[in-house]
């Protein structure tokens, strides 16, 4: 099969000679099936999981090997053409938003599991491998890959590395950063580097640490070594229905105060429950204003003791129904409701914004009350799904764009982030900054903080070609000394460089 190429991009963008030339080169080197130039096809790549931002890429390339990725990046760098990496396109911050004059490098064909070494607790995969497929590769040996974003059956490891993805079980097991021990990366000039490996804690700078969560701005990973962990001896999942969010919140605080460290503590409010019920009929307690999912795992004896404790705490906090998963199928059924909640919003609202913010756990009840107030004042419904254990909120702002509610919804969504910052939290827990939240970075960080990050970025990508326009709120030149400036930059005035 081949991607049909009816017109090269030069025809669509007459001024874009560089892209036109690259398209021909890529067709010659990678074959016609690896290059997309037709506009109707390019448009299917114009957005990722966040459809609010769209931009038709100049060119899409689908390499099949790490060498091909290196080649494509090298040619882009040599031609000063910007490029953006994309995996399954499930990101929720516009991190894979293409550049109109650039190349979108799609990694969905790099799907090999290169090495499985359960004795070392390591799996080596290509970036296009789906998160859940890592767990599948080691399931028979009694291991799993712990970071579990709700989109784990779709999202790819490359994207997980870029976003430092979390998930429900990160409360106990940590984020992607805690599970990546080695990376092979194509740097923005097209050279290939390897950092870390099978062994933990290599000497020198923690470059793996810098790359994880860099949102595709420091290079494109072509191989990821991840740590897998043994499946716990016993898992218990508790589903508790409460009459108020406050009661459920109280239960969470009490569980943590009791010294129990659950694998996951998830909370959903009544609107989220309604959406999940209509999507997957998950059978949550009827009439609940809030449900709590508490998962405990570990050695059997420890889990039994904790289970009794959690049940007692939920009861004291006012839970009117407590259900413990009978078996693995039942546990999957409980989680299905939670994991489908985002996408299920389509069932109860025409449009919605998935927000992602973090607050200190103790501020949760107050922030939730503030969100409810905000919702009542604006008339915009807000559903709440969140990782209660680590204060990671996912408010879903529901609206109907055909009824002119977009601006009001965006205002509510932004106000929620401000609430998070006011309470000492953060503008993103796990979805990343991408294109969507760069404007808030200035509120979270000082100029100096942002300059430090820019210097790191410029060390990797002096030409600013690698996923440009993401993460940072203000354009800045590489080589420029940090600090405030007024007027036109001297380098720019001399015609030697452009502000990015």
């Amino acid at each position: 099969m081949s991607a049909t190429t009816s017109a090269l991009p030069g025809a669509e963008n007459p001024g874009n000679v560089a892209l036109d030339g690259l398209a021909r080169e890529f067709v010659a080197a990678l074959g016609p099936a690896a290059v997309v130039t037709d506009r109707v096809q390019l448009r299917t790549y114009e957005c990722d999981g966040l459809t609010a931002y769209r931009c038709i890429p100049g060119l899409v390339v689908l390499p099949e090997t790490a060498e091909q990725v290196g080649y494509v990046v090298r040619r882009c760098a040599q031609s000063s053409v910007p490029f953006v990496a994309r995996g399954a396109g499930t990101g929720l911050s516009g991190g894979a938003l293409p550049v109109a004059t650039g190349v979108l490098i799609v990694l969905s064909r790099l799907t090999a599991v290169r090495n499985v070494s359960v004795d070392d607790e390591r799996v080596v995969v290509e970036p296009g491998v789906v998160n859940l497929d890592v767990s599948r590769a080691v399931a028979a040996d009694g291991y799993f890959y712990a970071p579990d974003p709700s989109s784990q059956q779709v999202c790819t490891i490359g994207g997980n590395v870029a976003e430092n993805s979390g998930g429900a079980h990160c409360l106990k097991y940590g984020f992607t950063a805690h599970h990546v021990t080695g990376l092979e990366v194509v740097l923005p000039d097209g050279s290939v580097s390897r950092f870390g490996g099978l062994a933990p804690d290599p000497p020198g700078y923690d470059v793996v640490g810098a790359l994880v969560g860099s949102e595709g701005t420091l290079g494109i990973v072509t191989e990821v070594t991840v740590r897998v962990v043994a499946v716990p001896e016993r898992v218990e999942t508790v589903l508790a229905g409460f009459r108020s969010m406050d009661d459920a919140g109280e239960a969470v605080s009490a569980i943590v105060a009791a010294g129990v460290l659950p694998a996951a503590v998830e909370m959903m409010d009544t609107l989220s429950i309604e959406a999940a019920e209509s999507a997957v009929a998950c059978g949550y307690p009827a009439g609940a204003q809030a449900v709590l999912i508490v998962e405990l795992d570990g050695p059997a004896a420890e889990v039994s003791a904790e289970l009794a404790e959690v049940e007692a705490i939920c009861e004291r906090a006012g839970a009117f129904e407590i259900r413990v998963a009978r078996d693995a199928d039942d546990r999957v059924a409980i989680w299905r409701g939670r994991k489908s909640a985002f996408a299920a919003m389509g069932r109860i609202s025409r449009d919605y914004i998935v927000q992602d913010g973090v607050v200190p756990r103790t501020s949760l009840p107050q922030v939730l009350r503030d969100i409810a107030l905000l919702s009542a004042e604006s008339g915009i419904r807000v559903a709440n799904v969140f990782h209660a254990g680590d204060g990671n909120l996912h408010p879903l702002v529901l609206f109907d764009s055909t009824r002119g509610e977009t601006a009001a919804a965006e205002a509510v969504s932004e106000r929620i982030l401000e609430l998070c910052i006011e309470h000492g939290g953060s503008i993103t827990g796990e979805h990343g900054v991408g294109n969507d939240k760069k404007k808030h970075m200035g509120r979270m960080f000082t100029e100096v903080d942002l300059d430090v990050m820019q210097l790191v970025r410029c060390a990797f990508d002096p030409q600013s070609l690698c996923n440009p326009g993401k993460v940072f709120p203000t354009p800045r030149l590489c080589g420029e000394r940090p600090g405030r400036r007024t007027g036109v930059h001297p380098v720019q005035a001399a015609g030697l460089g452009e502000v990015f």
Partner: protein, 424 residues
């Protein structure tokens, strides 16, 4: 931007259904073509995007049609979608528009015409049968174009024809009076499956009514966008079965069943037919679904056999029937069910897809064969003639010896205490 979009006013893919897609991507890993090629425009999300582009002024171009044509219509995405996107309705509307409005090459037209002048006509298939059988027995292989070669290779070994009686009375007390769809391919190429279906149904206390002239259900036409033809076939089938006073109409081919359960929708614009279609659809049951609903009457004898059960897409995704066949198999003493990896991914049969897109179908078939073989089961069991042909060919290509059976053949063997199912 071109001013005229891809769609005309006659049932374009509805924008309100397109709007249901929130672009989450949960459909990607269950889409056979995305699994093969990793391309956005060969995924359900991408195809929905293309449909929306068509409303947005993009013309019905060759690249756009290519991606619609490559969709197998397996509906795994409908099962996977958390937002309830009705991709089945969307692709059906899209295909009808493509079929009416997109000019195909002479070669494509000729192939489609050959398929649609034979497959949906049992009598024409029947007339061809002796020639095909002689051709098979001769061992000759004519040098044919790729797509016709695909057709020739998929043909199962043909035995003598064995017609089903118009009425076969229940054995023992009568529990129901059921109609039976004989099918086109099923009747001519899988006569044993129909014979087994009659035996199982009668053993379970059903009078089986099977009009010898009943025509095609229209599934193939419907799934290929030949809407008017599908409507014609549907009306004829309804008219044939309507006066027979049946409790239910049993179907042993998943693709046919899924189309027949949707006649109310298919005939929505036909004066006087919409309600007749809906009433007919309400009586349609897949044979597994019906046997579970009826409950076992006849004794099941032990079969010492391990079974890999393959979910036919039009049973699992289009009709949402996955537990009934497993329940029937589990009820047979000695039968061990083995699940197949990547069960949700289509085997590549998909109606006539393996004839029109032989390369993609071949890759999917090879993938399925590898997963089927990995179960190490004695028999592959499924509920659709298309899957049986496709998987048989794919297994044979890889030199994997495995017996294949329709689920009613397994039930029949158990009820009749006939161990030939396990034989060589």
């Amino acid at each position: 931007m071109p001013s005229e979009g891809a769609w005309d006013e006659r049932h374009p893919p509805p924008t309100e259904l397109l709007d249901d897609c929130v672009h989450c991507g949960f459909c990607l890993p269950t889409c056979p073509t995305y699994v093969l090629w990793g391309e956005e425009m060969d995924s359900p999300r991408g195809r929905i995007y293309l449909m929306a582009e068509g409303h947005d002024g993009e013309p019905l171009s060759e690249p756009m049609v290519t991606h619609f044509d490559r969709c197998l219509g397996c509906m795994a995405c409908v099962t996977a979608c958390p937002s309830g996107v009705q991709y089945d309705r969307l692709i059906e509307a899209t295909r009808a528009q493509v079929e009416r409005r997109f000019p195909r090459s002479a070669r494509e037209r000729a192939l489609r015409s050959l398929v649609f002048k034979t497959f949906p006509y049992p009598r024409r298939l029947h007339a061809l049968r002796p020639f095909l059988r002689a051709y098979q027995k001769s061992g000759l292989r004519l040098p044919l174009p790729a797509k016709l070669t695909a057709m020739q290779r998929l043909l199962p070994p043909l035995g003598p024809a064995s017609p089903v009686a118009e009425l076969t009375p229940a054995r023992g007390p009568r529990r129901a009076r059921v109609g039976m769809l004989l099918g086109c391919v099923q009747r001519e190429f899988f006569a044993d499956v129909n014979a087994a279906t009659v035996r199982v149904l009668t053993a379970e206390g059903c009078d089986v009514v099977a009009p010898s002239v009943q025509g095609c259900c229209g599934a193939l036409s419907l799934h290929m966008g030949r809407e008017d033809e599908a409507v014609r076939f549907a009306k004829r089938l309804i008219a044939t079965f309507e006066p027979l006073g049946l409790d239910v109409i049993v179907v042993n081919a998943a693709g046919c069943g899924s189309a027949m359960k949707d006649y109310g929708w298919l005939l929505r614009d036909e004066a006087g037919w919409a309600s007749r279609g809906a009433a007919f659809s309400a009586k349609v049951r897949d044979v597994s679904e019906w046997l579970v609903e009826l409950g076992p009457g006849a004794t099941r004898h032990a079969l010492d056999v391990s079974v890999a059960y393959h979910d036919a897409c039009h049973l699992a995704h289009a009709q949402r029937i996955t537990s009934a066949p497993r329940e029937l198999l589990r009820a047979i003493p000695g039968v061990e069910i083995r699940e197949i990896e990547e069960a949700a991914i289509c085997c590549g049969s998909a109606g006539v897809y393996n004839l029109l897109q032989p390369q993609a179908a071949g890759e999917l078939g090879a993938r399925k064969a590898a997963n089927v073989a990995a179960t190490g089961a004695d028999v592959l069991v499924t509920a659709n003639p298309g899957c049986l042909m496709q998987i048989r060919t794919a297994l044979a290509d890889r030199g994997i010896p495995m017996r294949l059976a329709h689920i009613v053949e397994v039930l029949d063997a158990s009820i009749r205490r006939d161990p030939t199912l396990l034989g060589p």
